[in-house]
Structure formats: C-alpha cells, structure tokens
C-alpha cells in the first residue's frame, strides 16, 4: 500500500480509503440486455439460487452473493457478464446512442465495449480496438458470448489509428479507457502495486497522452470523448486531460453519476490544471465500496 501514501493530502478520510483498499472486492456482474431484459435476468438469477443486490446508480449492475458467478445459467446464456462495478461507469458517462459510430480504443477484454453495444441496443457500430493480439481473443470470446453483432474488432496502436479501413472519417463518441498503473484495482488484484514506480507512471502517461490526442482527432466536432483509468495518479488522469486541452480542440463537460465521488484535481505537486478539471470524477474505494476509478468527459469543439 506504500505507493498510495502520496495521496494522503488529496483523499478525504484517508484511513478509510486505506482500509477499503485492503478489503477484497465482492463479485459484480453486468446484466447484458442484448440477451435478456434486466427483469428476466433477475428472475434467472433467482432460479439459479443466487442472491443479488441491484446497484442504485445503475440497475444493470448487480452485486452477487456467490463465489462462482460464472457457474450460473445466467452466465452460460450471456445474460450476465462479470464486470467490476466502477468499470461499468465510463460507458454510462459516454452515453452512446443506437445507430452511432463509437470507438473503444483500448477495448480488450471487452466488458466496456459490449456494455456500449448493449446501451446502443446492438444497433450502430462499435469499433473495439486493442493493440495486444493476445488479449483480442478474450475480447472476441466475450463479444460472441454476449451476442454483440454491432461490434467490429481491430488490432492496432490507438495512437496512430487509421479510420481508412471503415470508409467513414469520424466517430460520434470515443472511449479512452487507457492502459494505466492500475492502482485502483488493488482490491481485485493484491499484486497491482508490486511494480509501481514513478518511472512507470510517467512512461504510461506518455502513452495515454498519445491515445487521448488521437481519440479527439478521430471524433467529430460536437462528439464526446470519455477518458478513464483505474488509477489514482494525477499524472495519468488530470495531467493527461490537461495535455488534451492544451493540444487539441476540446473542453471538459459535466455529467451526472449516481455514485459518490470526489472532484478532479486542479493542482498536484508543482502543477496546476484547468479549473474545468473539477468536473472530472475521482471514485475512491471507500466511497461506494468499489474499486478506484477516474473519469473525465470531453466535448470535441471546433478547431
């Protein structure tokens, strides 16, 4: 937990934060409405004998009381997909609509990409990209199990992604769920902080900046880009969004989220960030008994 000490000045009730980070996380699943309406999934879980709690902020997120959420008929039929509660936040903030063209530029293993396809009633185009060929097989497996037919999978580096292959020149919305130092997944993966170093944070931040820039360029004017990570490091969050504000045509916008969270930072170490970064959300594990997440919503503006 040592790397988390640097956040003592910015996290309210830091001891509660540390205590939450030490507690393991329960099992959450997302109801996949491509396969069945939420009510039917709840009935199927009841038939499976699995108790559940429906999240207040999102009726499609279910906390299950079972150690093996994959061994249910609901899972076999693709009615449910194992997905951490906070991991369901970025697609909700992106709010993709049926018929739109949406890019998930770091998509594997596909929980968020299939969530977006479901939010779009599986109508439209979800381009699920990942640069790691090995993880693409997991992405494809999940997409087919969940019945997503609106999803196209590509294997490329998001930083210099070409839309030529699709014959259209911009997406309506883009999700940048960036590769990160994963501090917020400590409850799921106790090894998450083993390889933590400032050098790693700074090198991954360089990649994040390249991806967010390309995401904004590939999204139409008036379109939406959501930037998210599962880490607390301001270098990978506010600083990356600040870089996008400096280099591309976009602005940070508000969003509603029925979860408790803290506002984004406007200063960290020696750096200051644009005041609009307060509109971003820092979700800490002790606030909703979840993993940690950062989410910022951007609108692409005229150049």
């Amino acid at each position: 937990m040592e790397p988390l000490e640097r956040y003592r000045p910015i996290v309210d009730d830091f001891e509660a934060f540390l205590a939450a980070c030490r507690r393991p996380l329960g099992n959450a699943v997302r109801a996949n409405t491509i396969k069945a309406p939420v009510d039917r999934t709840l009935d199927a879980l009841a038939e499976d004998g699995v108790a559940y709690e429906q999240a207040d902020w999102n009726p499609r997120v279910l906390r299950l009381e079972t150690d093996s959420p994959g061994s249910t008929w609901s899972s076999f039929h693709g009615f449910t997909h194992g997905q951490e509660e906070v991991s369901a936040v970025p697609p909700v903030v992106l709010d993709p609509q049926p018929g739109e063209r949406v890019w998930d530029c770091c998509a594997a293993p596909g929980g968020k990409a299939t969530q977006m396809a479901a939010l779009m009633d599986d109508r439209g185009t979800v381009v699920a990209n990942d640069n790691n060929l090995g993880r693409i097989s997991a992405l494809r497996f999940n997409a087919e199990r969940l019945g997503a037919t609106s999803l196209a999978v590509t294997n490329a580096d998001a930083r210099n992604y070409s839309l030529d292959r699709f014959g259209f020149d911009a997406f309506d919305r883009t999700l940048v769920d960036a590769p990160c130092s994963c501090e917020g997944t400590i409850r799921k993966n106790p090894d998450a902080l083993d390889n933590w170093s400032e050098g790693h944070v700074s090198s991954v931040a360089g990649i994040q900046k390249g991806i967010i820039r390309r995401a904004i360029q590939a999204t139409r004017e008036g379109g939406t880009v959501v930037y998210s990570t599962c880490t607390f490091a301001p270098e990978e969050n506010e600083a990356v969004v600040q870089h996008a504000l400096d280099e591309e045509s976009c602005r940070v916008v508000d969003f509603d989220l029925g979860l408790e969270y803290s506002p984004g930072l406007t200063e960290w170490d020696e750096d200051t960030y644009d005041e609009s970064l307060e509109r971003a959300a820092r979700i800490y594990p002790h606030q909703n008994d979840t993993g940690g997440f950062f989410v910022a919503k951007l609108e692409v503006t005229a150049p």
Binding site: A44, G70, H77, V126, T149, L151, T154, F166
Partner: protein
C-alpha cells in the same frame, strides 16, 4: 483505342481471401467468388431449417472470411475489409450440412420454430457440459437448436447434432460449463 475489359471478364470468378472479410452477394447470380454462398441462400437456410423469418436479419449483413466461415454484422463497414472480427461467427457453409454456431443459436435461436429440441433442466445441464445423450426425436436428423426454459421462457442453449437416437452437444470447449 480499344477497351480490353469485357463484361465477360468482369464476371470472372475471383479467389476467396482468408485474410479479409467480404460481404456476401445478395443472390447467387451476383456471386463473384467461386463457392461463396449468397445472403439469400443464408436467409433461406435459416428459414427452411429453423423457421427463422428472413426479416429477422433486415438490419444485418453477412460476411465470409476464409472458406465457408460466415459472420453476421449489424454495423457499418466497406467490403472487403481486413480486420480481426466483424460481428459474430454464425454459420459454416462449404460442407455437406451447414452448421450454425452456438453463439448464433443463443443470440437468434429464440426466433426459431422448427428443429428446436426442448430439454428438461437435467438434460440441459448435460448439454451445457458438452455431453452427448440418448433421446427420441421425431423431426429431421442433423443440426438442431437445443433449448430449455429459463425464467418462464424458452431459451436456446446452443447447437446440437441429432443422429441415430443421440443428441450430440456442439457447445465448444471454451463455452462448456458444469452447472
């Protein structure tokens, strides 16, 4: 000036390319790749074999990658296209009996009225685990959609092969579950 390209040459059959997706031609008459099935043939198959109405697929296009691996896609894309996946695999053609995929059966099988075999919970459990089982069936032999009741409605489990009094589970290894 003479124009060497004749209509006859335009219609010459091209090769199937295993590295890219090509949209299926609307009808057999529109075919430009030898052995490639048409959209019409695919819709006829789903209607004739399973009673799935062709209009079920009005918003979907069908694609081939490699010989006989057919994909169903609901999004926008030009043809041909070289990407990793387009929608989901749905059907194997270019073999004596066409074979739908488990994932297709789970996604679209609820529209089927023919060649659906209803299993009780125990039989469904064995099917999901990949087991073959003896049972009677007075319909056509061949590929069937196996289903059971979940939360008050019939729900497709996947594709089975019925021959000689035996229902064989076609659920792929990675999708099998002990339930």
């Amino acid at each position: 000036m003479t124009d060497d390209a004749t209509p006859g040459e335009d219609r010459e059959l091209a090769q199937n390319d295993g590295q890219r997706f090509d949209r299926l031609p609307a009808t057999d008459a529109d075919r430009t790749v030898e052995g490639r099935v048409s959209r019409e043939a695919v819709l006829d198959y789903f209607a004739d074999r399973f009673g799935i109405p062709p209009e079920t697929f009005d918003d979907h296009s069908f694609w081939e990658k490699g010989a006989g691996k057919i994909w169903i896609y609901g999004g926008a894309a030009p043809t041909p296209i070289e990407i990793e996946a387009i929608g989901m695999t749905c059907l194997r053609t270019r073999q004596e009996h066409w074979k739908p995929t488990t994932d297709f059966a789970q996604r679209f099988g609820r529209h089927a009225t023919d060649c659906v075999i209803d299993l009780d919970r125990d039989a469904a459990r064995r099917f999901a685990a990949g087991e073959d089982q003896e049972r009677d069936w007075d319909g056509d032999w061949g590929y069937l959609i196996a289903a059971h009741e979940v939360a008050g409605e019939r729900e497709p489990l996947g594709v089975g092969l019925y021959v000689h009094g035996e229902l064989r589970s076609m659920v792929p290894k990675g999708r099998q579950r002990e339930l």
